[in-house]
């Protein structure tokens, strides 16, 4: 089928299938899935500028569906999401400006690619180690507190508690996430860093925001997944409008992808209720590593 906006021929079934796979992952892990969508669209001939913008547009639709399901399951902390949007948008702008600056002084693809590989591999190894330790501790120690699926614990709980002890005013309470008091600036910092990665590396940056919310702020995994998706709607929506104004969005491709993603996102979001936090984090661990491998292969290809 011919798509006149981007001027390419693509198979709609292929687009629906990509949407479905990425939608399922997104609904379950609270990530946009750009590390899979971008190479999948680029491989079939969509120009890179359209890949970035169109992917963002489809992330908006998919996140709406997944976030609605998570809301029904009680996995969204609206207060937390509201604060995070501010940091994400500011961080995203900073990331975009950093790219523009980098264009003048270095090989952008090489720098961005190398940073992505280091960050993705680090997150992957850390998540795998931490969730494995938590699951082992739970299995070994009978005195370990028995938690429900939505209550959560990590192997580095002390770190999040230390962050919560920083009483830099103003402080906010997040009763839905079970946090009595936390500095507004700590939340803003985490979302700002996520935004920087989103602007710098593209996509929704859920791969860094979701683990940061769990490990740095102490948000239970289920609520981190749901809240991240809700927050992505606003930040990716903002990115979509900006990219569309620059002519980087083929909305017809995004709409077709979203039909598959909508179903996948519902399935993924519903699946979270059958898994505990550490198991979701353990399953999440290979995803950033997969992203790192895809980027490494792309870098190797472009240098040959």
């Amino acid at each position: 089928m011919f798509f006149p906006i981007s001027g390419v021929h693509l198979d709609p079934i292929y687009l629906i299938l990509i949407g479905f796979i990425v939608g399922t992952l997104g609904g379950f892990f609270g990530v946009g899935g750009s590390f899979l969508t971008a190479p999948a669209l680029f491989a079939v001939g969509l120009p890179m500028n359209f890949v970035v913008g169109t992917d963002l547009a489809h992330i908006v639709g998919k996140s709406i569906v997944a976030a609605r399901t998570h809301r029904v399951l009680g996995n969204i902390d609206l207060k937390l999401a509201g604060i995070m949007v501010i940091g994400t948008i500011a961080g995203s702008e900073t990331g975009v400006q950093a790219i523009e600056l980098l264009k003048k002084v270095a090989d952008v693809d090489l720098v961005v690619g190398s940073v992505s590989i280091i960050v993705f591999t680090g997150i992957s190894l850390f998540c795998a180690w931490e969730s494995w330790m938590t699951l082992r501790a739970k299995a070994r120690t009978s005195s370990y507190p028995t938690l429900g699926k939505k209550q959560d614990s990590t192997a580095i709980d002390g770190f999040a508690k230390a962050v919560q002890r920083i009483k830099l005013a103003p402080t906010v309470s997040l009763p839905h996430s079970g946090i009595a008091s936390i500095s507004f600036w700590a939340i803003l910092f985490v979302s700002f860093i996520g935004g920087v990665f989103s602007g710098f590396l593209g996509g929704g940056a859920g791969y860094i925001r979701m683990p940061s919310m769990v490990y740095l702020l102490g948000i239970p995994t289920h609520i981190a997944v749901g809240t991240d998706l809700f927050e992505i709607i606003i930040s990716a929506g903002y990115g979509t409008v900006r990219h569309a104004m620059k002519g980087n969005v083929d909305i017809v491709i995004a709409l077709i992808m979203q039909t598959g993603a909508a179903l996948g996102a519902r399935i993924g979001a519903n699946l979270t209720q059958y898994f505990t936090g550490p198991r979701i984090r353990l399953a999440f661990a290979p995803l950033p590593l997969l992203g790192a491998i895809v980027i490494a292969l792309r870098l190797l290809n472009s240098h040959h």
Binding site: P4, I5, P12, I16, A57, H58, V60, G61, K62, I64, V65, R68, G237, T240, V241, R242, A244, M245, G247, V249, I251, V252, A254, L255, I256, Q258, T259, A262, L263, R266
Partner: protein, 80 residues
């Protein structure tokens, strides 16, 4: 337990079938009516295109979610 699994799988298959038919009809209609108009907007009024694009995406996401929820709910009531 076996019955519950069978029932869940049955509901999933029904959901997928309804969804596939619904999406096919929807896509044919949307592509038929919107493709030329969107191309025109993209070329001539980029800012309007940007806002129309995000509204279409939000509308489709909310609409598809609502319709499939209703369809699945109705099917479950009939099969239970």
């Amino acid at each position: 337990m076996k019955n519950v699994k069978k029932s869940t799988l049955f509901h999933l298959i029904i959901e997928l079938t309804i969804y596939a038919v619904f999406v096919s009809v929807y896509l044919i209609l949307v592509l038929h009516f919107l493709l030329d108009w969107l191309k025109e907007l993209f070329t001539k009024q980029r800012e309007v295109y940007a806002y129309v694009a995000i509204l279409l995406m939000i509308g489709q996401a909310v609409g598809l979610e609502r319709v499939t929820s209703i369809l699945v709910h109705l099917t479950r009531r009939r099969t239970e």
